[in-house]
Amino acid sequence: MLRSPHRAGLAGALAALLLATACGGGTTRESAEEAGGPEATAVADPDAEIPEGLQVAFLPKQLNNPYFTVADAGGEEAVGEFGGEFKEVGPSEATASSQVSYINTLSQQDNDVIVTAANDPNAVCGALNQARQAGASVVTFDSDTDPECRDVFVNQASAAGIAETLVRLTSERIGGSGQIAILSATPNATNQNAWIELMERELEKEEYAGIELVTIAYGNDDDQKSFQETQGLLRSYPDLAGIISPTTVGVAAAARYLSGSEYRGEVALTGLGTPNQMREFVEDGTVESFALWNPADLGYLAAWAGAALAAGQITGEAGETFEAGRLGEYEVGADGEVVLGPPTVFTADNIDDFDF
């Protein structure tokens, strides 16, 4: 085993290393150079034909997640329309690195298009860039990667569109005046905070002058915590007229609490939810309307974007346009983003048309 001379040697080596780096500068955050992905050099040809038999692979955050099952089904529909070959692969756990080996596999199989929702914006970067160098077109949807690592990002809905829709739905329901609260996920969730900020800005508008945002509660995207936070909100603010919960976990938990309480039908609840989670609460009158993008359309658009890339109709530059089947024409925005459109609003009238 290690005797004292070894130990002294080890300590000495470590000390020397520390000293060397302390004096020598070394690789620090300040000195680091920018990493770059492959640059697009091709020129877009809007009239290019989508080749037959294009191999399109969907790699969701994880398999057996109802949201992605619906999104991928939308992708399959699109791939069928342009005569390609569809497949869906993915990890059973939504961890940051689990997608990397799937990307490598797809690249090894020479797939033409990889459509993915990233579990981590950076962990998949190296693998995606390798796949792009090997000739694959990469589309991200739902959750983007670093823009350096993909050709196009299909955004489910603009943040502004979500904020506008949720504030409008609430205002309609409470008659334009009263106290409202927001039930969010975690205090540092990027999406949530962006939406909350935009909702606050939206509420400053003249037409919403009668609405007062009293507090923001955090349910941590945990069903039970969200349930308790809803309970707490109504205890702290007995005059609360409405709650906006821009998270599927939060809005379902809040609906469950309201549904079993004296506030059912009294407090207006809206937010981002899935039809399957919210169906019973729409039926029992707890919730009148809520919003979400349609994941099937999201996958459908992502597949068309991938085909347009592979065909050379677009390269990911702002201003390029492409046809996306039944959804019509789309334009690539800044940073290679394509926005699906305003969120779909679900009410008692249309909820039975959706199953996800």
Binding site: T27, T28, Q108, A123
Partner: protein, 348 residues
Amino acid sequence: MTEPHVSARPAPPPGPARRPALLAGVPARRETSVAGALLVSVLAASLLVDGFATGRNAGFLILDVAAVALIALPMTLVIVTGEIDLSVASTLGLTSAVLGRLWLAGLALELIVPLCLLLGALLGLMNGLLVTVARLPSLAVTIGTMALYRGLAYVVLGDRAVADFPFSWTGGAVAALPGTPVPWVALLIAGLAAAFGVLLHATAFGRSLFAIGSNADAAAFAGIPVLRAKLWLFVATGAMAALAGVFWTMQYGSARADNATGLELSVVAAVLLGGVSIFGGVGALPGVLAGVLLLGTIRNALQLADVPSDTLTVVTGLLLIVSVVVPNLLARAREHRRRRRSAPAGPG
């Protein structure tokens, strides 16, 4: 010190004692069969799966198993002594989180990396002290520190990711040896595997680990410093998990508190598949390397063949059960025959 007693467990097979000293403690059968299984699966995959037998894919495969391989080396020694360390993936995560934090603070990577390795050794030391000084079972200790270290990782970095590492490091981590598709990390693993292999199979210290794993009380009675040996093994495991953490962070270019969640199970699976007995006292390092590669090959080949991930998990689980159950049944059958031939040697 408790009075030495005769273990109810069967003594290790008498075979190794008659073989050359260099091979002492290397039971022949298990690792040969793992190596055979590896060979068969590589051949089968090369023939049946499109895109498997290419240099590029071999590179992907090695990178996929690199972190598991690094941690499996010291884990082999730990399990040979009859202990286990389930905190390794959390040590990896905490190392990754600390790496990210220090990078944000503006330290140089050349300084951060040795600090991270030191941190890993200290985390391992804590496990070791709890096992050897507080005399707690390592299973309980490391289930505790598994949660503790992962929790600390979230304290350090929260649920955000640090990812602005320079490409010279992130690209460098996955770079191949010049002129080959083989990632350089394969050389690192081979070098460390040789070091751990020599330590386990060709030194007095290594032989003492088998004695400890077969019967710790008897080993202590024979003058082997049981606790000190175990302490050092936990320190080494912590340091290697930290090394894997540094590599993981650069490989994926992302320092996160939740990095490698659940990896401890892959490591233990590979070690057991490699022929190391979970009860201690039996095992060989080459077998473990074959086990790591076998799991990697099966996963890689099935993925290339578009087998769904659920099926893949089921296959891996079954393989592991078979690899643990079959030798156990064989050993029991041998024991049964031996007892029928001669009168029982000890109580129980």
